[in-house]
């Protein structure tokens, strides 16, 4: 079972940032449970086989003030995929730095080594005003502006700055089956 953690602080953003992820998982018969990061329990984290942390809208940055609520990530060794804001969280939990960089719309990125079933050049959908960079992550892909796909040096923690629930939906399925 995948624990899908939503970071949207306005309920109406569910349809844009969460439902498309749920739809991909449902279409592929992958079981999941949805929870907001402010309501998450230790039991749910322990029960999950894998964790996906969603993204949210450009103006919804409340989660950045709540990084302490994600400190449990440091104790885990199960696969986590952070999408956009979820990638910011992974970086910040591991002492990364938040930097300003806006990218909106379709962008080509180059993947150096195989990353969740993807390699070479792909077109991705971007929607962010920031990115994070942490020395504890290796960079697998970059746009001309900033890192786009990272993996933790020791643990199976993956971060993508783009939105795979919009383009490259199979990345979510590949993550579910690692």
């Amino acid at each position: 079972m995948i624990l899908l953690i939503q970071i949207c602080n306005k309920k109406f953003h569910y349809f844009e940032f969460i439902k498309p992820i749920e739809d991909v998982l449902k279409r592929n018969k992958i079981k999941f449970e949805l929870i907001h990061y402010k309501k998450i329990t230790r039991e749910q984290i322990q029960k999950a086989e894998k964790i996906i942390i969603s993204g949210t809208s450009l103006k919804d940055n409340e989660f950045l003030k709540d990084i302490n609520e994600f400190i449990w990530i440091k104790e885990l060794n199960k696969p986590i995929l952070g999408i956009c804001g979820g990638m910011h969280i992974l970086g910040l939990v591991f002492d990364g730095e938040l930097k300003k960089q806006q990218e909106i719309g379709l962008t080509k990125i180059d993947i150096k080594d195989e990353f969740l079933g993807y390699k070479d050049s792909i077109e991705v959908y971007e929607l962010h005003n920031f990115y994070t960079i942490s020395k504890q992550f290796n960079i697998y892909a970059e746009s001309k502006n900033c890192p786009q796909a990272v993996k933790h040096r020791k643990n199976p923690f993956y971060g993508v700055l783009f939105h795979p629930e919009v383009r490259n939906k199979d990345l979510l399925v590949n993550f579910a089956y690692i």
Partner: protein, 222 residues
């Protein structure tokens, strides 16, 4: 939250408005951009002036912005009218009916970010058949006002979106791979009634023009 809805009068923007209200937002105004270019990258063009009637039966103020419909110029016109909506109605967010178009969605996102507005896209990536079924379940009465792809023809104009429509479109999807909700521009629609309307709009007059697999039905509603 006080929202302005980018409104074309078709099924997607009207359903987005319906969802915005259903989930506790206030629809402060509707925003319609009328493009002189029938092939606009951003805006749905047929029957656009009928949105005045729709706004009237929704009892929601309507802002209309005209544009020549040239690629980047129409974005400036869109930004201008959204700014006007923020000034006049104190909106905090824009709602769109974008489903699949990264071109449309990303441009509206940029404009909202520039103007410090949130942006809601409640139909984003929604399965096309799920969308059609949701419209029927939510008691929307919608007709086809334009068709623009093979094998669609004149006979589809004026058809209502109902179970029979979905059945017929399903066959075309299987054979011709058209998009069932018309998001690829295969057809365009007009909403005659939905839970946001105080009464049903009636078609008073219609004019059909086109050829081959590109047809439009201009309607007058009352």
């Amino acid at each position: 939250m006080k929202c302005g809805v980018l409104f074309s009068g078709g099924k997607d923007s009207t359903f987005a408005a319906f969802l915005a209200k259903k989930y506790g937002n206030e629809i402060s105004c509707l925003i319609t951009v009328v493009s002189k270019n029938p092939d606009s990258y951003m805006f749905h063009t047929p029957s656009i002036l009928k949105v005045k009637k729709q706004a009237e039966v929704m009892k929601i103020p309507l802002l209309i912005q005209k544009t020549k419909g040239e690629k980047e110029e129409e974005l400036k016109d869109l930004e201008f009218v959204i700014k006007e909506a923020k000034r006049k109605f104190k909106i905090e967010a824009i709602v769109t009916g974008s489903v699949e178009s990264a071109y449309q969605a990303s441009r509206v996102q940029k404009i909202c970010d520039n103007l410090d507005l949130d942006c809601f896209n409640p139909l984003w990536q929604k399965d096309q058949f799920e969308l059609l079924n949701d419209l029927i379940t939510s008691k929307f009465r919608i007709i086809v006002t334009g068709v623009f792809a093979y094998p669609l023809n004149e006979s589809w104009l004026g058809r209502e979106i109902n179970e029979i429509f979905i059945r017929d479109v399903t066959k075309l999807v299987e054979i011709y791979k058209i998009n069932p909700a018309g998001e690829g521009g295969e057809f365009e629609t007009f909403v005659l009634d939905c839970p946001l309307f105080s009464r049903t709009l009636k078609i008073k007059d219609k004019q059909i023009q086109g050829k081959n697999h590109s047809w439009r039905m201009e309607i007058e509603v009352t």
